[in-house]
Subunit: 332 residues, 6 copies
């Protein structure tokens, strides 16, 4: 039976197929009875699933990030489609058709990891090369770096999301650098690679994405500094001489200033060309990815507007036909 | 005699050569005697020139934006090089070696204007094409658009600066668009073209760059809306049918939201993918251009830091050798 | 049977009479069953009506802004009176006693529209007069201007509310102008008239008050500029000569700056006497109208305080006897 | 010899006439020599006077607020007219033609004081009347209240300025109250009278306007509460019964909330209709007075713009002819 | 039967014992049926109690601040323990074992009141001593001061909380003063005593803690000024001479500036050493008390983090073992 | 000849004695002639010294932080005392009477360093003790830690200022901890010690106090994390087992959150009891020290107010007699 995508579901339609699970919660209703709530997604969007009268046993059957097979009925509530779940079980990820989902396939992750190595090795400055190698050779690090998310919600909040965000940033940096001749592309590429590295310590991906204790108390900025200090020591061994102070300072400064403003938790404002470039490119990539996802996943296909997003202080405009009419309005 | 660039001048050195003038002011000293102060630049930087005991006659000999021939003596004050002027006269721009200056040559402007037309005409959507033609065919508009500055200070504050900023934005947009498949490049390119268009009304370039009355009372955002309304009417005539409402709305929204936040004078927050892309690309281009210029023009070549810039809330780091050591630290 | 006003209703009282409807919503309860919620008002206040187990059919029987006949029972919940609805139907507006409601009668609207024309025609400056006539002669414009609301909630959010707000502003401006001799009353009166004009494009009044797409993407400030540009062209035809640039600038500046601060979406700060007067008078009128309405409509007549209003950051003090004890505490 | 008004003075013109003095300062120049600087005004504007090589003796000859006879020469510096002083002496205020100055004449002050009494006595609520009488009967209070300034700079910063501001506020309140039927005019009039009363303790007018120690440590808001507490006790004696708690609370609340926002030093937000009316009327009156004065006193009559005022974050637009072209652009 | 402390309760456990009640509310559920919700606490924490199908009669049986005997069943909802109440009655406070509760016993209050008198009388400056006596001799004042709370929620929100906060502040002030030799400890101790005194007028403790009308319209800062004015007059009688102006000003300034910043409702910024010390000590004591209480009362003993507290913008870290492992990590 | 303290100097008095130098600058006057400006202080205050017609040679004779012998004349300018310097030479610090200066003597520094060791060793937790020993045994670290300033201006900006600030914080923490039983004093003492440790890398004390490149690009917060990481590794060797993760996290969290708010450059908000205590104690100590110093050093002894301090947004109140009248107004 061909898959019915989330965007195609209609009121009272019966459903029996695989979704990607996230944000699992066991919650009581007003009468004190527990129900299980979980976000279910495929590549066309996301909806909220609810299993009434649930217990700890139901919640224990799967984790956030798992593929789950769900039986139930679609229902339209307050203009949003929901899925009233009758049964939910962990699915075998080897039988899943990855094309049905927005997240990255193992093959995608391999491809991106190879591209990351290629971009890092393309920089000819010996100290940067040595630093790159000391990361690439660290299998435990690479395993976590390539499978971690870039966030717990908003942009790139899925396995491999961090890698995808970082490689895309590096590609964009390489594309635009020729137009800004004073920009040191080697430094910028390494800044793109390092800036969110601390997230592999900040976020746990064991059971659903969540912050670790260390992540909440220290944050990925300070954690990234500690990680870079350790690798700089390794790089000096590889290199056989000290990493120039100037390079180490400029790399650390990019980590410390990439949030751009104090109010966003940056302990330093960008004070070099590469740091200011990194801040704006990071913002551009995160915002475009986030806006595109909010437009794609919005639960009301009838409306030309998404729901109001309080953290953005606005609705987003989807326009006609529930999205963008390519071919018709643009394209060079 | 070969030119002595500003970065090469030494204390007590005699000077007799051409500079680009800006920010001309006639000011009194403490004893009530007037002196003439003017910013003088070449492609290596800028310094402040002062003509003691000046009068209205001295000030009238040239305007901001003119090339001027200056005779005088370089002096180091408070760590900054200044030029004590003995004589200053307007220079003949046809005898100037444009390579000595950071501003655009007539040939640069021609090249950029051709590239602008090419980019606008590359968009295949009929309504956008018609709109583009209605601007390109308006010679008075194009003359002002290609020769105006993008600001009175900070980034691109020289003749042709607006054109240079806009074409660079469009090039960058075209480079990165393939990496963001939901982005409508046609709309985005026109948004880049239109977003600061109101500046040709906001800023006067007749005698030094300054705000017009209308510019101060209305601002380039509202002025751009009025200008776009007029051209949309012309485009409809060219097109023989109405410009789709959806396209007109999305273009106007980009003008209204490109400052990104209410506190920066944006009456609307970006609510479409193209508007959020435009805001971040505009910021990226303006900040990189501005930072590079502040680093290049900083008056103290000895220091690894620029002076403190209150509007940025920081100093910028120049690093060793008065700038960037290309070849050594980066380059892919 | 004489009407029982909302302020008079008591717990468990049976109700069968006409109310004005607003904010109609079909919402699910925790068990997934839909109910219809609607704000019901008369001239003494407002309460929330709820029809349990409702469906699309119930919601379709009337629109926001309609008079509705409601049968049901008043109930006191959490200190607030609610109305549990058994039946709700659209009422015939010709049989309604308009005195029972706070909104404007057709006769009120006529009176206010005549007063608007009178005030506009009282200004003797030819260019302003011509501009006024070009609006007054535009029947489609006047029909929408006189029947639109000034907002979707808060102050003057009912048909004719925009007209009432504008005429009151103009009256107040005319009263106080003699005390500020530098104030140009002609300009100020036209500024009062024009400042919120864009709201007839920003807000749709077809089915309940809501924002149009253009309203959300452009906003009434930019829409007002476009509308004024068009009318200035008509006024020049009427006038037979150009509208003085100075007048056009000052009028547009009032539209652009009337929100007073960047953070409230004003692209310009008030820079003329008339613009600063308009901003403060607009604020005064809107706040007094809004506060008076919140005090009148507060759902708990027992309390000397209204509920907490998060957008105002405060409760309002009603004082003793559920409101103001005129005659007793004031009156000149 | 007819007076030459400040707006008429030309470069190098010899001056010998009376001005009003303010902001007297003895300052050193760069060479450590002292000079005397003082603001000199008449009803057409203000300019800065400078006496070179001055000493304590020169400074002691007059105080801020005195009329002074000045001999000297007008000079244009940086586009602003200044007065190089040769001699400055305190003038006899009985020989001054008060019409030449913007400040209030003794007759103005008498007239305003009578009007204040009339407005206070027009309120018929016994408790308010008794309170009013307890102030009006306090000659020491009335002497200070009628001769104090409303500020040390900005609006109404001259003897009688507080009285003028308060009476104007009361007049405007009485004019607009009929348009807001829920507003208790009696309370509002007393709120207008009392809101800035603490300024007679906050500001010293003995030798130039400046803050007292108590004014700086407590502020006119808290000082006003203490003053009102004392008068409420007197009013109860006059009345023979307690002032109703409700009235006392509402009056104090107006004093405490009249700055409108926490960030402007208001310990309370306005929570009654009269308090919100007072805040906005006070703002309107202060801003209109301040803007009109900045436009009138701007030192560069050639420009259509005032200088930039950092505390306002803007320039003001004066328009053509150094001010407003009444008769021509407005007037009903 | 030994008490089962709140931290020990398990899912489905039957409960029949005494708790301290707070925040009593009668609320409707979605079906319009009322239930009673009340916070129940002992010295180990707090949980929410709910009595389904409750009425006014149930709510009338006890008040906030009472000890209540509760029969019911503990239930775990959304990770938090709740108590489903079958019966709730006011308990006899004389039979309560006060050690089981975090609030102050009558004996605690006596001890703290004696310590307060001792600290006030330890200051040897006659004017301060006289002021202290005029408060200590006022039995009505002392009765309210010693039994009032310091807030309606957050820190010290229980009978005697104000006294406990004030005495602790004074003790801390006395401890640290020797390390800051310029600090006038006498003034600081009286500032600690007076700063929140207005809260006995601002908050009503008759039936649950809530704001009085005067409290909301005036606030404890202004109310404290009025109270201090009255006592200064009494102190002058006791003293037989005026209280030095300098002392009165410095005391009032501490009341007016203790919130430290305008945005927190302080009408004045601290401008004396004692005022800045009071502000920071007050903050330290309130924050430490509040954080400790949020950690102790957090409803999920399994987690190393408290719930998110929106007014603090963060979660708090409890660490391992539901709290602090004294003995192991610290102790000098 | 007995020393004439700065507070005693009178206009035109001849001076020949030793001062402490700071903020040395070579600056041009309006005529382009250089002069040397330097802040000179003793324990009674500070004043500005100026040597006219100075050159690089004069500036090279001493450094910031040196004792200098100055010959010259005191002059009163704009109400402030200045010193017109005729000759300035570095003085021999061994002949200086340290009691005449506010900075720390070598003996003070020894005493404070011993007390620091004592406090660190008083904590009995093995992991903290081991960490303490690893710092105390590092002579290079201790040399810099005990001689560095806590800032470049404001509080504790002199050699040993960091040590003095840290030891005082630890003393205050130990004094108040018994009053807050949930506070882990061991952790808090180490947090006090570590929180500003990065300043020895952030600030250079070689030639006047200034920021290092690394200090500006990374900041003392991130630098402190790197330093702590290195010492934690050493402590583990000393200890023979890992430092508990919980302890390391809580220490790092105190460093990262001690600025308390994002806007002050804190990448994390305080989330533990010790972190919130550290933030408020640090603020208390820094503000009291800073206010006391501004009051002591204010250049106008006649005034009861200091000059306006823009970074504080206020003047400070000195009160009568140029300071505090101990004995008279306070003292327990």
């Amino acid at each position: 039976m061909p898959r019915r995508y989330i965007q195609e579901l209609t009121h009272q339609e019966t459903v029996d197929q695989v979704f990607l699970a996230a944000n699992k919660q066991l919650r009581p209703n007003r009468n004190g009875q527990l129900y299980l709530q979980v976000d279910l997604s495929d590549r066309t969007g996301a909806l909220s699933g609810r299993l009434w009268n649930a217990g700890e046993g139901d919640a224990a059957r799967f984790d956030d990030g798992d593929f789950v097979r769900v039986k139930g009925t679609a229902q339209l509530y307050q203009g949003s489609m929901q899925l009233i779940v009758a049964d939910i079980q962990k699915a075998d990820s080897t039988t899943v058709d990855w094309d049905d989902f927005a997240c990255l396939t193992p093959a995608d992750i391999d491809r991106l990891a190879r591209r990351l190595a290629e971009l890092l090795r393309g920089v000819k400055v010996p100290a940067l090369r040595a630093l790159g190698e000391s990361f690439l050779a660290d299998e435990a690090f690479m395993a976590r770096f390539t499978r971690g998310p870039a966030g717990v919600k908003n942009h790139h909040a899925y396995p491999g999301g961090l890698l995808e965000h970082v490689v895309n940033l590096m590609e964009v940096a390489a594309l635009i650098a020729p137009r800004y001749p004073n920009l040191d592309l080697g430094l910028l590429l390494y800044g793109c690679f390092l800036h969110d590295m601390g997230k592999i310590e900040e976020l746990s991906s064991d059971k659903g994405f969540s912050y670790t204790d260390a992540g909440q108390l220290l944050g990925h900025v300070a954690q990234g500094i500690t990680m870079l200090d350790a690798k700089l020591a390794q790089a000096e061994e590889l290199l056989g001489e000290p990493v120039p102070e100037e390079i180490a300072l400029r790399l650390k400064h990019m980590i410390l200033s990439h949030h751009g403003e104090y109010e966003f938790g940056a302990p330093k404002l960008p004070m070099t060309l590469e740091a200011v470039a990194l801040h704006h490119l990071d913002n551009l990539d995160a915002k475009l990815h986030n806006f595109a996802q909010l437009i794609r996943d919005d639960s009301n296909p009838e409306s030309r507007w998404t729901m109001y997003h309080p953290n953005l202080g606005r609705k987003l405009y989807k326009g006609e036909q529930g999205g963008r009419g390519e071919g018709e309005r643009g394209g060079v």
